[in-house]
């Protein structure tokens, strides 16, 4: 059955505007629509009324690019688990519901407009060490000369599936980016190729993370719950071990 809904949406003209919640109504919403398709319907209404549509980030709409965000009814990526907002479907809601939609909020993620935030702080952390320093000349050794234990390879892959959306930061009461950084540190810590630069990597990435204004981890685990890719808290523990090891090495 199609639904009529009330939406309370954060509107903010630009980074310096104060911003406020504004109410909207949408009707005849199909349960098979995705959440962002529901917002498309609202935006089409707004454009037709000569009003400015709601700005929100999105691109692939299949849960992998990490561009979509949204804090829906108090949860990053909304009420469902293991998905991004673009994979959230309206069948999770019922007729007559009021839905609150806000941007991801964190000091290190300033609002650009409405529901769009600036997550380039994540990029800068990666610039500090999220790589293996190998040239892309192709003159490397044959791929099969480095056998990697399947369990380690699979665990490294699990860490590497992070999409960099920032749900972990938005969900954390301290706005900590430890899950995001931990995932990248773990991916390389678990692979032999990553060992050479392990010390510098973790120290540099953590330093940049602190400079960006992300908070500390107090192990509440909210990030893991809201992570659309199920990145586990073990990544934070592994990063802490790597960091301690690196610090002791000096």
């Amino acid at each position: 059955m199609n639904m009529n809904l009330t939406l309370k949406i954060w509107r903010q003209k630009n980074a310096s505007d104060k911003g406020s919640m504004v109410d909207y109504k949408v009707s005849d919403i199909s349960p098979d629509m995705s959440f962002l398709e529901m917002l498309d319907v609202l935006n089409e209404q707004l454009v037709n009324k000569d009003e400015e549509p709601i700005a929100f980030d999105h691109d692939c709409r299949e849960g992998i690019c990490g561009m979509c965000s949204l804090y829906i009814n108090g949860e990053a990526h909304g009420p469902d688990r293991g998905i991004t907002t673009c994979q959230l479907h309206m069948r999770m809601f019922k007729d007559g519901d009021t839905i609150t939609i806000e941007p991801f909020r964190a000091t290190a993620f300033p609002v650009i407009k409405d529901l769009i935030v600036d997550r380039t702080s994540f990029d800068r952390i990666q610039h500090a060490g999220g790589f293996i320093s190998v040239n892309t000349s192709g003159n490397t050794i044959d791929a099969n000369t480095i056998p990697i234990n399947k369990h380690d390879a699979d665990t490294a892959f699990d860490s590497a599936t992070c999409i960099g959306c920032g749900a972990c930061v938005a969900s954390c009461k301290n706005s900590s980016a430890m899950l995001f950084v931990g995932a990248k540190v773990s991916q390389f810590a678990l692979l032999p190729q990553g060992q050479v630069e392990a010390t510098d990597r973790v120290l540099n990435m953590v330093k940049q993370m602190d400079e960006e204004g992300f908070g500390n981890c107090t192990n509440t685990g909210a990030c893991e719950v809201e992570c659309p890719k199920g990145i586990s808290l073990e990544n934070i523990a592994r990063m802490n071990r790597e960091y301690l090891k690196a610090s002791l090495k000096g």
Partner: protein
């Protein structure tokens, strides 16, 4: 201008090596004096930007997303091909070359494809060195799987997220160079024009998508890695932002556009659920390794399934039509994409579609679950006849292989594919056509290069699965960094290109004028209104099956729609702010021109080849009756279109394709 593909002389296996031995190089100290612009940060653009910066050039990279890591290469699922022959199943550079040319229905350039096959193995070495976590076997070595249109296992993968892992690899290589200051990254910037100075590409005009600021950027060469144009259909598996604008602006500045009608309609996508649909979702081709495609044999069962009085899993084996296995016994469910898509359409057009819209077929994992379950039970010494146990073990194996895809399906369709077959239908996925490039990957504009999906060169009329990632990374890591040096060696004394020339000013003014038009037009309809209409015309008349009548109608309908768009489009807000409607308006304006050229190209090509199927070009009898009929005598050429104003005025240039190393044959997968 006559097309010169600049293919090096000599035997095919030696061309690339000979070429590299004889090109001009730029010495490391001089590279510091040369600027290169790279637009797009997907596998092609990202890998090119990283490699050029490593070599010492000053790179400026641009993407419209908020981070280079979001480029749509990230959504590629199944894998990447490489002629490693790790499985010892007879693979070789030649075989990968042969499969790609045959898969492309003999409409690609032999020399480019051979080079692609040649460098493919390096890609895997490179990615592993970067820490890309490919799937491995228990012995610790890399695992492979099989893809459509081939008889070997040469596809490397990382679950159903291979594109993500490869893109994050290229992104990490970029990050290293951004950190060193060798790449200056411009996120949330959209390229709106190419600037030519003295006939050479010397820069671009961009719009900062946050502030609306129009910027001039100069360089000694410009590289476009801006992806495909599948969104001309409105609904496709492309990302919402994927667009043709960068390529189209290049076309308008003199780059020929090749084979626009070669579009890949991917057979396994989640069917359309309603008018609200904004995009379509692919289910990886790798699923056809284990999934069997079928529809019911009898109409009464089709109706019962649609009415939900019969569960698909309860239909007896004898009452199912595994039509790919029936029609193509040699390749079965792993026929190439164009063949599988047309076969699905044929069954659905005949009335056998299994969902309410009549546009869906089943992709069924029940036999694979049984097979894997029995094997697992055997390995563990458990009872192979315990049905519940076998099913459970089999589902675990399937989950391990395709877990993320099954989850995606369940979230969208609200059905559990472990227990009921998936419903799938073809959808627009990839464009083999694109900007014409020579062997150096340079367009017909000197100093303007085009790589990855945005160019036309390697996939002919149909791309094989797991070859897009291969081509993107081959172009960016291993081909362009060589070929561009040959061109730039003339620029070591040029010095920085100034941006205050009249060419930059004129280009900037044109861009501003168009943006101003949109925000002041105050028309009646939104941008999407026109985009959806264009998509309907394209899908119905320039889609999976094409004919003269439909194509002729499409051309005039698109023209009329374009007129209506310029009269009636409505864009709220201003230019000097984040304004997605404004960005979309510019993109749809370009799609409305491309769409017409696309249909014109399809009308010109009076043959069926690969993804381009003309209803008036089919085999009339014999074993291949009803299959696509190619016309090598008259159409073994690349159609390269020159811009002359209106799409209807575009001038056709032909690059005749020569097949010296592969015999032209009918493509048979029977």
């Amino acid at each position: 201008m006559a097309l010169d593909s600049k293919i090096p002389q000599g035997p095919i296996a030696d061309k690339w090596t000979n070429y590299k031995n004889h090109i001009d190089l730029v010495n490391p100290a001089n590279k510091r004096n040369i600027d290169v612009i790279v637009v797009g940060t997907g596998l092609a653009g990202g890998s090119a930007a990283a490699t050029l910066a490593e070599l010492g050039y000053n790179v400026k990279a641009f993407c419209f997303q908020d981070s280079p890591r979001r480029a749509h290469s990230i959504a590629a699922q199944g894998g990447i091909n490489a002629a490693k022959n790790y499985q010892g199943d007879g693979d070789s550079t030649y075989r990968l070359f042969y499969d790609t040319v045959k898969g492309g229905d003999y409409r690609s350039r032999e020399a480019n494809v051979y080079r692609l096959a040649e460098v493919s193995a390096n890609i895997i070495d490179q990615c592993v060195a970067q820490g890309v976590p490919f799937a491995r076997e228990y012995g610790g070595l890399l695992d492979n799987r099989s893809f459509g249109g081939v008889l070997v296992s040469r596809t490397f993968y990382a679950a159903g997220q291979t594109g993500q892992q490869l893109l994050l690899g290229a992104y990490s290589a970029m990050n290293r160079q951004i950190g060193r200051g060798k790449i200056k990254m411009y996120n949330r910037h959209e390229m709106l024009d190419v600037v030519k100075v003295d006939g050479k590409a010397r820069g671009i005009i961009t719009r900062n998508l946050i502030t609306g600021e129009i910027e001039r950027h100069s360089a000694h060469a410009v590289v476009l890695g801006t992806g495909g144009y599948g969104n001309v259909f409105f609904l496709s598996t492309n990302a919402m932002g994927s667009n043709v604008t960068a390529a189209w602006k290049a076309h308008k500045r003199g780059a020929y556009f090749a084979n626009p009608c070669y579009t890949q309609i991917h057979p396994t996508c989640i069917p359309v659920s309603g008018d609200h649909q904004s995009k379509l979702t692919l289910m990886s081709e790798s699923l056809r390794n284990d999934g069997r495609i079928w529809v019911p044999k009898h109409m009464k069962d089709v109706e019962a399934i649609r009415n939900r009085t019969l569960m698909p899993k309860d239909l007896a084996e004898d009452d199912r039509d595994y039509y790919l296995e029936r029609r193509y016994p040699a390749f079965g469910n792993l026929v190439p994409r164009d063949v599988a898509s047309r076969a699905a359409k044929e069954r659905c057009d005949a009335g056998f579609g299994v969902n309410a819209t009549g546009e869906a077929v089943f992709l069924d994992f029940a036999s694979a679950i049984q097979r894997y379950g029995k094997e697992a039970a055997h390995v563990k010494g458990l009872d192979e006849n315990d049905a519940a146990l076998v099913k459970k073990l089999g589902q675990e194996v399937i989950k391990n292989k395709y877990g993320n895809l099954f989850q995606m399906y369940e979230k969208i369709v609200d059905q559990d594919p472990y227990n009921t077959p998936m419903m799938i239908y073809p959808a627009v996925h990839y464009t083999m056509g694109g900007i014409w490039v020579d062997y150096n990957l340079m367009t017909t504009v000197p100093g303007l290069y085009c790589i990855g999906e945005a160019n036309f060169s390697d996939h002919g009329a149909n791309r094989l699965g797991a070859s897009a990632l291969m081509q993107g990374l081959a172009d960016g890591y291993f081909v362009l960094p060589y070929t561009i040096g040959d061109y730039l060696s003339d620029d070591i004394r040029t010095g920085t290109i100034p941006t205050d020339s009249k060419e930059f000013e004129e280009a900037e003014n044109e861009v501003k004028e168009k943006l101003n038009f949109f925000v002041t037009n105050k028309g009646k309809h939104s941008v999407d209104y026109f985009h959806k209409k264009l998509g309907k015309i394209m899908w119905n008349k320039v889609g999976m099956a094409r004919n003269v009548k439909g194509l002729t109608e499409a051309i005039s309908e698109i023209k009329a729609l374009r007129t209506a768009f310029w009269k009636d489009v409505k864009v709220p807000g201003t230019n000097e702010e984040y304004n997605e409607e404004l960005a979309k308006a510019g993109r749809v304006a370009d799609f409305l021109e491309l769409g017409e050229l696309f249909a014109k190209d399809a009308l010109n090509r009076e043959e069926s080849c690969g993804g381009h199927f003309r209803e008036d070009a089919v085999e009339l009898d014999g074993e291949q009756k009803g299959e696509a009929k190619r016309d090598d005598e008259n159409f073994a050429y690349v159609s390269a279109w020159e811009y002359k104003g209106e799409p209807s005025d575009a001038v056709l240039h032909k690059e005749q394709l020569e097949f010296k190393d592969i015999e032209l044959k009918q493509r048979s997968y029977k």
